[in-house]
Amino acid sequence: MAQSIEKSQAVDIRVAGVTKEFGDLAALHDVHLDVRPGELLALLGPSGSGKTTLLRTIAGLVQADRGQVLFGGLDATHLPVQKRQVGFVFQHYALFKHMSVADNIAYGLQVRERAKRPSRAEIRRRTSELLDLVQLSGYENRFPAQLSGGQRQRVALARALAVEPRVLLLDEPFGALDAKVRKDLRAWLRDIHERTGKTTVFVTHDQDEALELADRVAVLNLGRLEQVGTPDEVQDQPATPFVMTFLGQATRFAADIRDGKVLVNERGVRADARDLAAGKASLYCRPWHLRPTPAGQGNFQGIVSGTRRLGSIRRIEVSGDDGTRLEVEIPLEANLQPGEQIGLEILDGVVFPDHWTPR
């Protein structure tokens, strides 16, 4: 790889107490976030959670009402977007439709003031190098309209990388692509990230994408940061009920905490009570935290109302006697038929006290 695409010194990003008030949902409330140098971080949340607003605030496309944004320890809060040296990839690519692929990629170099602008030959060399990196050599003279969605996305990334940004910011990079292309591009983005070593933040509403791709995941909800952690941490030790339910199928059981033990329907559960005070609580369980037992045993009674085969496991739907519906994962060989009366034993789960308020 040539020099310009070689690993550069990665910088960290610090978001300190950023607040942005809008009339609508996509506001931010006192968000603190540290992105480590060279890290690939996902901003994950449902629509309206403020994840795109946070990304745009880091880029300088949105001005925060309060708080700071720092790159490598330097305050960038009042730097205009042009001076922040961020590579931004837009959700719908935002390629310049009247320019060829090569001109799109070269744009950031062409608009530099004369003293800082590389020579024509140098620009051409860099452009072809980047085309090579995004596997689009030979597409120089195509126009955006002549490219597929995945190709446009790659041109957008090459264009963002051309200016040697300090950090790379991607807004729903795969949002507009079909499932197959998404999967291919994920692996490819991971690869590019490893090769360039740039601190990268990407926004997504797809938890699989975030968990598969990112070093760490920041989960946002209603403009607040709920948790930041590695994929393992956010999945195994969710900090809030929202993180628990957003990251996968979860069933809530009303539970009681007594003497440091978790009880569901007066039967003990092995889940960690985490030094919670005695009282009412909620127990959240993944499908694999539940095990079918003969009727009358376990914490929960119900009727099998449906079964589905998912690869190497079977997922059954259980209608509880109390009217709830929940899903349980069982081995393929377990033979449970719809209509069967069963019990469920809760093997594990995450407990949150009721009237939970996020920090």
Partner: protein, 293 residues
């Protein structure tokens, strides 16, 4: 079932019948439309040229030898040369502001831009007279400064600008709204200045729409009668534009000259129409704001 179907009329479902209208009705509609076009648009146009050439080529060109005619043509060109570029800038700025920014009073601005379309040109001409005329609001002060606006070129230009203001803005606002701000934001993140972004990203995206708007604006600027008629004062050889000159010639029963000069405007209309059709045919998607991305 059998007795039910017997009562149903034997016609295709109602959604289909909309497009499979009876042939007779279809042909009738087309004939009526074509007859109207012929009678009210094509025929008058032919009459203009027939009347203009009634005394042959010599008679036709004699109309343009006259000094007053030449000065009218000159004045019309001057007015268009000032009003159209100004409206280009105004229209561009207004649509930029409306399409790319959120601000209070935006919908009021959009309504105001359309005002010249809903106000009679004669009324708008009168407004300028009331403001700038000798008896008008600012007339005395302007007179004292030696500035003449009413019954002079500035008044005619002002009235023309007012009447033709919506053309460029009307064309660009939907186009720019449709295109959104993503490309501009991309240019900014790549380090381009605001001006640079405008000239390298925004302008190329709207150039055909802009040209279209300018074309219509120019046609109207040259052909405007009502507003200009009020503010110009009809001073021969001084404040008469082509449309006013045509009227004067006609009122003097100088039909051949009147139609000859009118044929200039007719030609302008035909050229505008041709260019307009060409733009629509060649760059239709760019005019309607069709997104390629």
């Amino acid at each position: 079932m059998s007795d039910l179907s017997a009562t149903l009329p034997l016609s295709p479902p109602s959604q289909l019948s909309v497009v499979t209208e009876k042939r007779l009705i279809r042909q009738l509609a087309i004939t009526v439309a074509l007859a109207f076009l012929l009678l009210f648009l094509v025929l008058p146009l032919i009459v203009v040229f027939v009347e203009a050439f009634k005394r042959g080529l010599a008679g036709y060109f004699a109309a343009f030898q006259e000094e007053d005619a030449l000065s009218a043509i000159g004045l019309t060109l001057t007015v268009a040369a000032i009003a159209v570029p100004l409206n280009l800038v105004f229209g561009l700025t207004a649509s930029w502001a409306i399409a790319k920014f959120e601000f209070k009073g935006k919908s009021l601005l959009i309504t105001l831009i359309d005002l010249p379309f809903s106000v009679s040109p004669v009324v708008s001409g009168l407004i300028y007279l009331l403001l700038f005329g000798a008896q008008g609001l600012w007339g005395k002060w302007l007179m004292a400064q030696g500035i003449q606006i009413a019954f002079a070129l500035p008044g005619i230009v002002l009235a023309t600008i007012f009447v033709t203001f919506p053309f460029v803005a009307r064309q660009l606002i939907p186009l720019m709204q449709e295109q959104g701000t993503a490309e501009e934001e991309a240019a900014l993140t790549l380090g381009a200045s605001g001006w640079r972004t405008f000239f390298t990203v925004t302008l190329p995206n709207i150039k055909w729409g802009l040209l279209y708007g300018v074309l219509l604006c120019n046609a109207r600027a040259m052909g405007e009668f009502g507003a200009v008629s009020v503010v110009s004062g009809h001073i021969r050889g001084l404040t008469n534009t082509i449309p006013l000159h045509v009227e004067i010639l006609y009122n003097e029963y100088n039909f051949v000259a009147a139609f000859a000069v009118a044929s200039l405007l007719a030609c302008l209309a035909l050229i505008t129409l041709a260019l307009k059709s060409f733009l629509e045919w060649r760059h239709g998607a760019d005019l309607a704001g069709g997104t390629v991305n």
